[in-house]
C-alpha cells in the first residue's frame, strides 16, 4: 500500500533522508524508530504530501504521489507531530470541517462523524472547545480527524507523546483496531510500544535506514543477551567462569546493583541458559534469576544509533 523508493531530502547542506526505501501494507502496523533528528518526521511530511522529496518515489495505493498528489492525499490520514489543532473550534465542528474539506457531505458526513466519535471515544468531549481538552482527548481528536474520510493509510507521528500510561494503553488498543483495515505507519520513541504493537520495524538513523524487518526477524538477527542474577555470597570469579563458557562473547557486571547482576552476551543463535544454570548448580553458586533480555529492541536501538 505504501512503497517508498530511494527517498532523499535535504535542508540546505543537511541531509535529512538519504535513499530511504521501505514498504507498508494494509493490516500491518509499521513502527518508524530513530533518535531525534533521524529523519522520521521529514519522512512523514513527505508521505503526507506536505513536503516534496528531492529525489526518489512514494507510491500510495499504487499511485505515484508526485504525479497524483490529491488522490494520494485522499487515501492518507495524517496526525502530525505535536498534533496541531484549531483550538478555537469545538470538537464536532472541527471534525465536520475536516470531513467537508475532504468532500464528504450530507448523510456520508454524518455517519463518518458518528463513526469517528465512537471509534475514538470522543462522545464526552464532542461539544467542547478543543482548546479546553486534556492531552489525551486532543490526541483522540487528531486521530479522529485523520480517520474521518476512512483512509487506507494512517500516518501517526509520535501519537503517544505526552500521554499517561493509561491513555497510551488505550491509544495502542485503538491503533491495533484500526490496523485491520488500514496500513498504519507510526513513529515513536517508546521502544516497548513498538515492540508490543508493531508488525514491522523500520529503524532510521541520520537519514539512513539502519535496519528493518518484522520483530521476529530482528530478534533472530540480534545476538541474544542473558541476564543472570547471583546472590552476593557468590564468588567474584563467577564472571570469569561464565565468560569461559562456549558461545559467550562477553560478560558485563552491573556494578551499581546490590546482587551480582551479569549481562551475558551470547554468539548469534546460541541459547546458553541451560549451560549457565548447570554451571551455577555444579559450583554451588546461588542463582536467583536467569532470563533472556526482552527489550532487545532497545539494545538494538542503542547499538545502531549510538
Amino acid at each position: 500500500m505504501i512503497k517508498v523508493e530511494n527517498l532523499s531530502r535535504s535542508y540546505g547542506s543537511v541531509k535529512a533522508l538519504d535513499s530511504v526505501s521501505f514498504t507498508a501494507s494494509v493490516g500491518q502496523i509499521t513502527a518508524f524508530l530513530g533518535p531525534n533528528g533521524a529523519g522520521k518526521t521529514t519522512a512523514f511530511k513527505i508521505l503526507s504530501g506536505y513536503l516534496a522529496q528531492d529525489s526518489g518515489s512514494v507510491f500510495i495505493g499504487g499511485m505515484d504521489a508526485s504525479l497524483h498528489p490529491l488522490q494520494c492525499r485522499a487515501m492518507t490520514g495524517y496526525l502530525p507531530e505535536n498534533n496541531p489543532l484549531y483550538e478555537d473550534m469545538e470538537v464536532c465542528e472541527f471534525l465536520v470541517w475536516g470531513g467537508a474539506a475532504r468532500g464528504l457531505c450530507g448523510q456520508a458526513l454524518a455517519s463518518a462523524l458518528d463513526r469517528v466519535v465512537q471509534t475514538c471515544g470522543l462522545a464526552p468531549a464532542a461539544g467542547k472547545p478543543i482548546g479546553a481538552l486534556s492531552k489525551g482527548f486532543r490526541q483522540r481528536v487528531g486521530i479522529a480527524n485523520a480517520l474521518i474520510h476512512s483512509p487506507k493509510i494512517l500516518l501517526l507521528d509520535e501519537p503517544s507523546s505526552g500521554l499517561d500510561p493509561n491513555q497510551a494503553a488505550e491509544l495502542r488498543g485503538l491503533i491495533r483496531n484500526l490496523s485491520h483495515e488500514t496500513a498504519v505507519l507510526l513513529s515513536t520513541h517508546i521502544l516497548s510500544e513498538a515492540q508490543a504493537l508493531c508488525d514491522k520495524v523500520v529503524l532510521i538513523n541520520r537519514g539512513v535506514i539502519a535496519v528493518q524487518g518484522t520483530p521476529q526477524e530482528l530478534a533472530r538477527a540480534k545476538a541474544p543477551v542473558l541476564i543472570a542474577v547471583f546472590e552476593q555470597e557468590a564468588p567474584a570469579s563467577v564472571q570469569e567462569a561464565i565468560a569461559g563458557l562456549e558461545g559467550v562473547s562477553a560478560v558485563e557486571r552491573d556494578r551499581e546493583a546490590e546482587d551480582i547482576v551479569l549481562r551475558i552476551y551470547c554468539v548469534q543463535g546460541a541459547d546458553l541458559r541451560g549451560e549457565v544454570f548447570a554451571l551455577a548448580a555444579r559450583s554451588g553458586w546461588p542463582l536467583l534469576e536467569l532470563k533472556r533480555e526482552r527489550d532487545w529492541l532497545e539494545a538494538m536501538f542503542r547499538e545502531l544509533t549510538a
Binding site: Y50, L70, T76, P80, N82, A101
Partner: protein, 243 residues
C-alpha cells in the same frame, strides 16, 4: 457536474471556516470598530466643522485607512497556520493549494466588504440633507471594493511569507503603503518615472472611480495586481515554509 459541486462544497467548507473565525474573533471586531471610528471621523469633519454635506472626505481618506486595516484583517490567515503547525493539516488535505488560497483571500475580502457596508450610512445621510451624485458614490464604492481585493491579496501574500502575525502585518502594511505612496509621489517625479509611479500607485486609478468613471483599465489594474500577488502567494505555498 458532480465533481464541480464537490469542489464548490469543499471551497465553501474552507471559506466558511475562515469567515467563522473572523466573526467569532474579538480582534476582527476591534479592527472593524477602528475602521468605522476613523472613517466616521473622516466623514464628520467636513460635515460638522465645515458644514459641507459631502462624502468626499471619507472617499479620499479611506484608501490610506485601508492600507492599514486590510493587512490587519489578513495577517492571521497563513502566518498563524504556520506558527501553530495547522498548516500541516490544511496543506495535506486533498485540495489544491490554489483553492485554499482563494478560500482564505475570499474570506478576507468578504470581511473587508462587510466593514465597508456600514459606511453606506454616510452617503445616505448626505442624500437626506442635500444633493448627492449617486453614480459617483456607487463607482467610489466599487473602487474601494476593488482596492480592498487588491490589498487583501497583498496582505495574504505577506501572511504566507511570515511565521507570526506581527511580521505579516508590518510586511503587508509596508507593501500596501508602497502602492499608496507611489501614487502620491507622482507630482515629484517626471518623465517615465512619473508615468510608472502613476501606473503602479493606486491613487490615479481610484481618482477615476471617485469621479464616477469605471474605466476598464483601472479595473484591470486592480485585478492584475491582485492576480500577481495571489500567484506570489501560491509560489510561497508550493515552497511549503516549515513551521
Amino acid at each position: 457536474m458532480n465533481s464541480g459541486f464537490r469542489k464548490l462544497r469543499v471551497f465553501g467548507a474552507l471559506c466558511s471556516k475562515e469567515l467563522a473565525h473572523y466573526f467569532y474573533s474579538p480582534a476582527a471586531y476591534l479592527v472593524a470598530a477602528g475602521f468605522l471610528l476613523v472613517s466616521g471621523y473622516l466623514f464628520s469633519v467636513p460635515f460638522f466643522l465645515l458644514n459641507q454635506a459631502s462624502v468626499r472626505g471619507f472617499f479620499e481618506g479611506a484608501p490610506l485607512l485601508m492600507t492599514f486595516v486590510v493587512p490587519a484583517v489578513t495577517m492571521r490567515l497563513f502566518a498563524e497556520e504556520f506558527k501553530s503547525g495547522t498548516a500541516e493539516l490544511l496543506l495535506t488535505l486533498p485540495v489544491p493549494e490554489w483553492q485554499i488560497l482563494l478560500a482564505k483571500t475570499g474570506a478576507a475580502f468578504c470581511v473587508v466588504c462587510a466593514m465597508l457596508c456600514p459606511t453606506v450610512v454616510y452617503p445616505v445621510t448626505v442624500a437626506f440633507l442635500g444633493n448627492i451624485d449617486g453614480g459617483a458614490v456607487l463607482c467610489s464604492y466599487a473602487g474601494l471594493a476593488l482596492l480592498g481585493l487588491m490589498l487583501s491579496c497583498i496582505g495574504v501574500f505577506a501572511s504566507a511569507c511570515a511565521r507570526n502575525q506581527i511580521t505579516a502585518f508590518i510586511t503587508g502594511f509596508l507593501l500596501c503603503f508602497a502602492f499608496f505612496m507611489a501614487g502620491k509621489a507622482v507630482p515629484f517625479l517626471s518623465g517615465l518615472l512619473g508615468n510608472a509611479a502613476a501606473f503602479i500607485g493606486f491613487d490615479a486609478h481610484m481618482d477615476a472611480f471617485a469621479r464616477g468613471v469605471a474605466d476598464s483599465r483601472d479595473v484591470l489594474y486592480f485585478l492584475s495586481v491582485s492576480a500577481l500577488f495571489l500567484y506570489f502567494s501560491l509560489l510561497r505555498l508550493w515552497r511549503r515554509p516549515l513551521g
